[in-house]
Amino acid sequence: MPTTQELIAISPEIILALWALSVMFLDLLIAQSRKSILAYWSLLGLLLAGGAEFSLWGREEILFQGAFVQDNLSLFLDLVLLLATGLSLLMAKGYIKDLEMEHGEYYTLTLFATLGGMLMAGAGDLLIVFLGLEVLSLSLYVLSGFRRTEPMAQEASLKYFLLGAFASGFLLYGIALVFGSTGTTLLGGIAVAITEGGLLGDPLLLLGLGLLGVGLSFKVALVPFHMWTPDVYEGAPTPVAGYMSVVAKAAGFAAALRIFLSAFLQLAGDWTLLLSLLALLTMSGGNIIALAQSNMKRLLAYSSIAHAGYILLGVIALNSWGLSSVLFYLAAYGFMNLGAFAVIVALRDGEREYLALNDYAGLGSRHPLLALSMAIFMLSLAGVPPTAGFLAKFYIFGAAVQAGYGWLAILAVLNSVLAAFYYLRVIVIMYMREPAGQVAKMTHSPALALAIFLAVIGTVQLGLFPAAVVELAQASLFPFLGS
């Protein structure tokens, strides 16, 4: 039986699970015309879960015989996940209504996906990593095909499912080999087994670690495991694409931090080399292909791949600076990327979406506020001061230099310069190009406006006054790295 203390410590996850169930029940009672109540109800659940996270701050609870760890690291990542979920729900409310897919299941699945991500963030056992990942992925497979009549959505869903299942196979195989070598799936137990069993160069363990890496790389879309990303983002409903780009990445990196640092820290010499190669491929691959994109969602898909490469630098740096900048980067990335997706959601005329880059021509004069927000997000994604994206890159590259990866940091900076080209092109098109025909129409909705407003505030706030979040990110490492 779980103790009361355990139940309290895992209360954010319990709240979210119960809330997802309650959405399903409420869905039965609410008439189709008033389904948007469910959006507010889900947001309330997110707020409650977030409140529970805050009240747990500063503890380190090891729960369920080590299967789950609720420390500041998981709380910080959970807050990022909850925030991203909230923003994407605000975006989704009007969108799914206009596109005639406003069903309660949308909210249920979104909440369950977030729950999966939160389980990954606090996993103390490879089993929980796997189960959390599956809860997250299964929900996302369905959400990306939520526009069921649209062939592109079906393609996205099927592609994501087939490749995702394949990647899960790799992850599971990796877990099995690690278990075979160390005799345990507990992350802490693996570390102990490596020391006590003298498994440092054990080929079975290394192979298992490699397969685990492949599985996780797929989920956070590192090159060469990124092939699915543009197609899935393009076919998925836009709010879902934004949600995926942040939540799946944050959860994947959370699991990677847990696995690589608490279980395989002693093998760091082996995996940092591999990861720096992946980081290099991911940054360059994502950015170079993004240059050629003319569809906004595909552009953001490749840009999100490149950002995963930058974030990887912080993991490779393997010092407390690097790890806290990974957390800061994830928070900043959540705001700016979801903001950019929110602008895409806003540019819509009923069912028709304006996704081509050329549709953005003339936006600067026609919808000045929207264009200004988009400009801020693009500048931040490009890493121009004084935005969140600049500081996030600054911290993470600094950590890489400090850890002796100067060459990687230089290549990352060169990559950011390359990336600036396609981000700035969006701004140039918005402000300087004459529209060929009609200027893209904009859908007005208070919830969507709130989402964009919050994203702008977050992006600017983290850029100008980062101290509070940086301190929070540093504080979240304390019990985790100390142990």
Partner: protein, 169 residues
């Protein structure tokens, strides 16, 4: 015992290859039954009788019947009309699959897998009331969280199937 392992493992592998290679989907499904039964025997060899029974009842029984039912109902018998659009797919798959198999073989031949510390011997299991009791107790103690999360996972799968397949939501 070791000899018996090979007696089961070789058919298991051959039938697994057959599942992929067969042109007729019904043959594939039937070969999958053979494979699942062989794996069930492997579980018995490992003294995991409960898991073996579950494997036979759930996988070889229930799920495979459902598989065959769907294949026959939809008339998917022969995989005609499926054209391979990627001409290099087969050779590349063989190359990488073979490389992976060789790598795994080399790694396995170089390691001896240690028995898990604190693992129960068959005698312990018998003293504790048998396989079913031990697994059940573990599920509700050490693996409680995993057990609960699995139930959520299954629920998500059900919701997802309904969302994607139901004509009117």
């Amino acid at each position: 015992m070791e000899a018996f392992f090979w007696v089961v493992a070789i058919p298991a592998t051959v039938s697994a290859v057959g599942v992929v290679m067969m042109r007729d989907t019904v043959y594939s499904a039937l070969l999958l039954v053979v494979h699942l039964l062989a794996v069930a025997v492997l579980f018995v060899l490992l003294n995991a009788q409960l898991i073996a029974a579950v494997q036979v009842v759930v996988y070889a029984g229930a799920i495979m019947v459902l598989f065959l039912f769907v294949i026959m109902m939809l008339g998917l018998g022969r995989g005609e009309g499926v054209k391979e659009k990627l001409p290099l797919q087969r050779p590349v798959a063989l190359l990488f699959g073979g490389a992976m198999a060789i790598l795994l073989g080399v790694v396995m031949s170089q390691t001896t897998i240690q028995p898990v510390a604190g693992a129960l011997t068959p005698g312990d299991v018998l003293a504790m009331g048998g396989n079913t009791q031990v697994v059940g107790r573990l599920l509700f103690s050490d693996y409680l969280l995993a057990f609960e999360v699995t139930s959520i996972l299954l629920l998500v799968a059900i919701i997802g199937a309904v969302v994607l397949a139901k004509r009117r939501l």
